[in-house]
């Protein structure tokens, strides 16, 4: 059996003196779609942000395709900034607040990483960008600025921007939480498409129904630890832990 594409081993993280991740272990095989659910403060977003080193961690390892992210060696020595930047290109992240670059067109938002990080030519980058913008349904908006796009459109561009880099793992951080309800579906549909095409994904989400439909596995986090993990039917239909049951009830699933 091949090595998991993403391995998180005994991850511990502190914010000042408070430990927010207390030893998290998680593995994803290529093509897995894993949703992380839990109440705020459970550490789920922090966990996601550790994978692409937007957050530092003081203990444990994260490996993508067998390469240790952010740190190296038994001394947990931090890597150089330029190396970390290179490693970040192995993942793609979509943010709750979209975070598109407002001074660039949708097309340029997508090609920036392709030209500056992957060093592709402008022609190659434009071709890839236009392909992905078409995939998310926005080929007629490629020359628009983020200020001219709706929330759902912006988030779809953000997805294109991340996926165009051909990452090994895609990270989604509550990507529909900041959207008006009628715009949520257009984004979820794009994510579903990517999932069926075999993209490896780690999603933090509040959309329980969506998590149930799209995930191979669901992870329930509570107070910095993974409390339950398993196929969506098991977790949602017959939760084993008391807290998960309460959480599901309060989420009206």
């Amino acid at each position: 059996m091949a090595q998991p594409i993403l391995r998180i081993e005994n991850l511990h993280k502190k914010f000042k003196e408070v430990e927010v991740l207390k030893g998290v272990d998680l593995s994803l095989e290529t093509g897995d779609v894993v949703s992380i659910i839990g109440s705020s403060g459970s550490g789920k977003t922090t966990l996601l942000r550790c994978v692409n080193m937007l957050e530092e961690f003081h203990q444990g390892r994260i490996l993508i395709d067998n390469e240790e992210i952010g740190y190296s060696g038994p001394q947990h020595k931090a890597r150089k900034e330029s190396e970390i930047a290179r490693q970040r290109a192995m993942t793609g992240m979509v943010f709750q607040q979209f975070n598109l670059f407002p001074h660039m067109t949708a097309l340029r938002n997508v090609t920036l990483g392709l030209t500056k990080v992957k060093k592709l030519t402008v022609v190659e980058a434009n071709a890839i960008a236009e392909k992905w913008l078409a995939r998310v349904g926005l080929s007629d908006r490629s020359n628009h600025y983020p200020g001219q796009l709706s929330g759902g459109q912006q988030q779809r561009v953000a997805i294109a921007r991340a996926v165009a880099m051909n990452p090994k793992v895609m990270l989604f951080d509550e990507v529909t939480s900041a959207l008006d309800p009628e715009l949520v579906n257009e984004v979820l549909n794009v994510i579903k498409d990517l999932a069926t095409e075999g993209m490896t994904m780690l999603l933090v989400t509040h959309e329980m129904k969506f998590a149930f439909e799209v995930s191979d596995r669901v992870v329930f986090m509570n107070q910095g630890r993974i409390e339950e993990e398993g196929p969506p039917e098991d977790l949602f239909r017959s939760p084993k832990s008391q807290r998960l049951a309460e959480f599901l009830k309060s989420s009206k699933f």
Partner: protein
């Protein structure tokens, strides 16, 4: 029309002096703005990205200069730099004071603009694998500069206004030249009105150019 003793005659007679004075005013203002901006960008970058010690030192510099009236800066610079050690001309000493003054304004504006950018911009840029220099050049600086443009234009007009202060240290810019002409012709109201009109036009032109620039650089929404 150009009879001796009328306003227009006197203006015509003094035209070279007036033009020279205007030229000096423009020269002072331009040099102050350009040099002040260069220094100011450096100041701003240190305030945002510098190490603790450098940031502290620059912060002290900015707070001290901004708490001092620009007139005092000019006078101090004049007395200090033309008499002790380095022997600068009045023009150079006055310009030095204005450059220092301008740098603190530009630096503060830049700092404010950079720090007002949402953190998500840096994070999104990091997420696609850009290194910090790339993030600064492609993502942060373009946005910060757009943001800082109105304040910078304001600083530029302040520099034109501050050029008048050099008249007190005998630099022959427009205000001093006006004073001299008035002393000779006793046409106080006329020549001061003329000078006022010129100053107004310069700054008004800058203001209009600024609005046009802002419109051109604005992002469509």
């Amino acid at each position: 029309m150009f009879e001796q003793g009328t306003v227009l005659y006197e203006i015509w007679v003094s035209r070279w002096a007036l033009l020279q004075g205007l030229g000096v005013t423009v020269l002072i203002s331009l040099l102050a703005i350009v040099l002040g901006t260069i220094l100011g960008v450096f100041v701003g970058l240190v305030l945002v990205y510098g190490r603790w010690v450098s940031r502290f030192a620059v912060r002290m510099y900015v707070d001290f200069v901004r708490g001092t009236p620009v007139f005092v800066l000019v006078l101090a610079s004049y007395y200090l730099l033309t008499q002790i050690g380095i022997q600068l001309t009045a023009f150079q000493a006055g310009l030095f004071a204005l450059v220092v003054f301008c740098s603190t304004h530009v630096g503060e504006n830049l700092r404010g603009a950079l720090q007002s950018l949402p953190r998500g911009q840096t994070e999104a840029a990091k997420a696609i694998g850009l290194t910090f220099p790339q993030i600064f050049v492609y993502v942060l600086a373009p946005q910060a500069l757009r943001q800082a443009l109105p304040a910078w234009i304001n600083t530029a007009t302040e520099m034109v206004k501050a050029s008048t202060l050099l008249s007190v240290i005998s630099v022959a810019e427009l205000l001093l030249v006006t004073k001299q002409i008035v002393a000779r012709t006793f046409m106080t109201l006329e020549f001061y009105l003329l000078a006022g009109l010129i100053y107004f036009l310069i700054n008004y032109a800058i203001e209009r150019a600024a609005k046009a620039a802002e419109r051109r650089v604005a992002l469509p929404s």
